[in-house]
């Protein structure tokens, strides 16, 4: 019995605390346990150190130690003048910096580009910091107001009408194309074998077109009256404001609850009016700078930001369409996704730039930059669709059923339950596509748009700066810029992922 009660391994007095052996803690411990704890690891450590030695040291030498920091032309960066083997030629970057940022954007107007950059930063940064309030307003300003303002800032020009004129114009275009299609059919019916059928259909379409014409006639008449008056923009603006505010008021619940909607839509229009007045859009706006003068970082950012912002909604819509139970929508989505994924981006850009104009009706032109933008947005959208679909597939069926059982509609289930979870699952993939889009923007240089890389290459041909290290310096600089943006996106996405997935941690 006593043997069991006090066996030799039971302590009778407490052991004092001792510091851990030096060999397992601190820097030495870390080195021993992480770097040199086995023959394989010793080998790997040595290999790693060698790799660092052979990459970091030459880079630092090239970029800093052997670099030339000041000078006025190529002579400063030649070895015979500098007295040593010259690395990076920074004065060349300094001299070319405006071209790398603005391209051929007229010097006197470059403040507009700067202002756009500042506006973007002012709107983007608060949106990315989770702690700051008013995310809804902030996002609205960035995604809807900013693109319009940026367009009139960067491109310039003014407006001749407002909502009413635009609606009238659109309806007129729509109606004209219907009547046009009817007439084409009527013409065909003169030669075709199924002439009577075509004749009937053609006449029917023309009839419908004419009916629509009479329906929209009052609107077009009103538009013409307004255009005739001296203050066309402001009259049109007032009419649009009144109509939209009234609609918001009634949709918001009329006399009982509609006041909030009325107030907020009115405030929106006041803000729009202030912007129109400030930028002088009602009398011509800023001088127009055609997009073929844009270049450098400006084009890179315009293309990538537009691509990023538009490709995600496109991708979400396509992914949902691909899972739809309605065959037509599903087939369309699948065909669309597979088509865009099946062709290389270069082909898309070539097609958009050189072939599209051949297909469009004669008087209808789309700006070259816009064509590239559309091509890139659709191309990336198809990729994002597959990313999003992966996320959607990871959501258990029970989630949708639980939402349905609570009475949530398909739209609400999708936007409140399914998408928020699906997108969280695929943040890494989405950002991956964003980063590759950012770098792929450099492909626009093959369709005569001078993005950062294109401007850089154009600057190589300047004889004033041709030295042996010019090209290396230029590419190093461009590489650093691309790296800063891509690394920033990557880190931010990690942060967001960590934050949004708080619910998965215990």
């Amino acid at each position: 019995m006593t043997d069991i009660a006090s066996p030799s391994f039971v302590r009778h007095d407490l052991v004092n605390e001792r510091p851990a052996p030096v060999k397992t803690t601190g820097f030495i411990g870390w080195v021993r346990t992480r770097l040199f704890n086995s023959p394989t690891n010793i080998l790997l450590t040595i290999l790693g150190a060698l790799l660092l030695w052979f990459t970091i040291v030459p880079s630092v030498r090239f970029l800093m130690v052997d670099a030339v920091w000041s000078g006025n032309d190529r002579t400063a960066c030649l070895a015979e003048n500098a007295g040593f083997a010259v690395g990076a030629c920074w004065p060349y970057i300094q001299a070319k910096l405006p071209q790398l940022i603005y391209g051929f954007y007229p010097e006197a107007e470059r403040w507009r580009v700067n202002l756009t950059f500042v506006l973007a930063a002012v709107l983007l940064v608060p949106m990315l910091v989770p702690r700051l309030p008013a995310k809804g307003l902030n996002a609205g300003l960035f995604f809807f107001a900013f693109p319009v303002v940026a367009f009139f800032l960067l491109h310039g020009g003014g407006i001749k009408g407002f909502g009413l004129s635009w609606t009238a114009g659109l309806l007129e275009l729509f109606d004209d194309s219907i009547i046009g299609a009817g007439n084409v059919l009527l013409n065909l019916s003169k030669t075709s074998a199924v002439a009577p059928l075509l004749w009937v259909i053609g006449n029917l379409i023309v009839l419908v077109g004419t009916a629509i014409h009479w329906l929209v006639f009052p609107l077009i008449w009103l538009r013409d009256q307004i255009q005739g008056s001296g203050q066309s923009v402001w009259v049109d603006f007032a009419v649009t404001t009144a109509v939209v505010c009234l609609i918001a008021f009634f949709l918001g619940g009329g006399l009982r609850t509609g006041w909030r909607a009325l107030a907020s839509s009115f405030a929106t229009f006041v803000a729009i009016a202030i912007v129109i007045k400030l930028m002088g859009l009602d009398h011509g706006g800023l001088p127009i700078v055609l997009t073929n003068l844009w270049g450098g970082l400006l084009v890179t950012l315009v293309v990538s930001v537009t691509g990023i912002v538009t490709s995600l909604p496109i991708g979400i819509a396509l992914a949902l369409g691909r899972r739809s139970t309605i065959p037509l929508i599903r087939i369309f989505s699948i065909a669309f996704i597979e088509f865009w994924r099946g062709v290389p981006l270069i082909t898309v850009l070539f097609f958009a730039t050189y072939m599209l104009p051949l297909f469009l009706p004669g008087n209808f032109t789309v700006d070259g930059l816009v064509r590239a933008l559309i091509g890139i947005a659709l191309f990336t959208g198809a990729y994002q669709a597959e990313n999003v679909r992966g996320g959607l597939a990871a959501i258990p069926r029970g989630q949708g059923e639980a939402a349905a059982a609570l009475g949530l509609s398909w739209w609400k289930t999708t936007s409140l339950i399914v998408l928020p979870q699906a997108l969280r699952h695929v943040i890494p993939n989405l950002v991956n596509s964003f980063i590759s889009l950012f770098k792929d923007t450099s492909l626009v240089s093959i369709v005569a748009l001078f993005d950062l890389l294109g401007s850089l290459r154009a600057s190589f041909s300047d004889p004033k700066w041709s030295t042996p290290s010019t090209a290396f310096t230029g590419f190093a600089f461009a590489g650093i810029i691309y790296f800063i943006f891509c690394f920033g996106m990557s880190r931010y996405s990690l942060f967001v992922e960590h934050r949004l997935n708080a619910h998965r941690r215990n």
């Binding site: 989630q399 639980a402 059982a405 949530l408 509609s409 609400k412 619910h503 998965r504 215990n506």
Partner: protein
């Protein structure tokens, strides 16, 4: 008072060629508690999922609180607003806190202001005895707690009927009791309940009627006492002998 709140008549459902539900007739009165049991694959889940239109059916008619749900599922939204459902696998929304889980539907379906919805939600969370966990995420809770949140979430919509599809069979034994206690409380408050379960103790204590299903049909329905003491059907006897042991 004795009007049926759920009336199922001539219900037939097929999965492709497979006839899952065959000529089901069932009336549930207001405040009645019905336990549905039967062997696996007999169509219990399918039946109660038809009541809130999670499954479509080909023949027959379901009337919930006077709202008619035919094979074309016309009044889906109206019916779902009156019927709450609790699933075997909880199906809480993992990206929302417990409180947000409970306020989502009142806010987005019934258009109740956020503040009122939160007050109601807290009231129901207190009833299922987890008000202090309101700001946790579902993933941070035990199974029993999650299932009680699911019950509270369904109750926030003020349903007239509650459907339970094996609410305790994904739970560890010691958590079964806390969920069953919650359901007993609910029954005592007069909620109309249809419960698919194999918890025969619960059936004895709470049910007004026990319905036994086999091969897509209701083959026996009786008060718990009669049902357990003198089962009529051979199939029922076999099932009871296996489950009670």
């Amino acid at each position: 008072m004795s009007d049926p709140i759920v009336k199922i008549s001539g219900l037939n459902k097929w999965y492709g060629e497979f006839h899952v539900l065959r000529d089901i007739d069932l009336e549930v009165k207001k405040g009645e508690r019905i336990v549905i049991c039967g062997p696996s694959g007999s169509g219990k889940s399918t039946l109660i999922r038809c009541i809130n239109a999670l499954e479509e059916f080909q023949e027959g008619e379901i009337v919930v609180d006077g709202i008619e749900l035919g094979p074309n599922l016309k009044h889906i939204d109206a019916v779902r607003r009156e019927v709450g459902m609790v699933f075997q696998s909880f199906n809480l929304f993992p990206h929302l806190t417990v409180l947000d889980n409970c306020t989502l539907a009142p806010i987005w379906v019934r258009n109740i202001p956020k503040k009122d919805a939160e007050e109601t939600a807290m009231k129901f969370l207190e009833r299922v005895k987890i008000p202090h966990q309101a700001n946790k995420f579902p993933g941070q809770m035990s199974g029993g707690q999650q299932q009680r949140v699911a019950i509270a979430r369904a109750l926030t919509m003020n349903p007239k009927v509650m459907l339970f599809d094996e609410p305790t069979s994904a739970l560890d034994p010691e958590m079964v009791k806390e969920v069953l206690d919650t359901m007993v409380d609910l029954a005592e408050e007069g909620m109309t309940m249809l419960v698919v379960t194999h918890e025969m103790g619960f059936a004895r204590e709470v049910a007004n009627r026990v319905v036994f299903m086999d091969a897509g049909q209701i083959i026996e329905a009786n008060t718990p006492n009669e049902f357990f003491a003198s089962p009529q059907h051979a199939r029922t006897k076999l099932f009871l002998s296996q489950i009670l042991r």
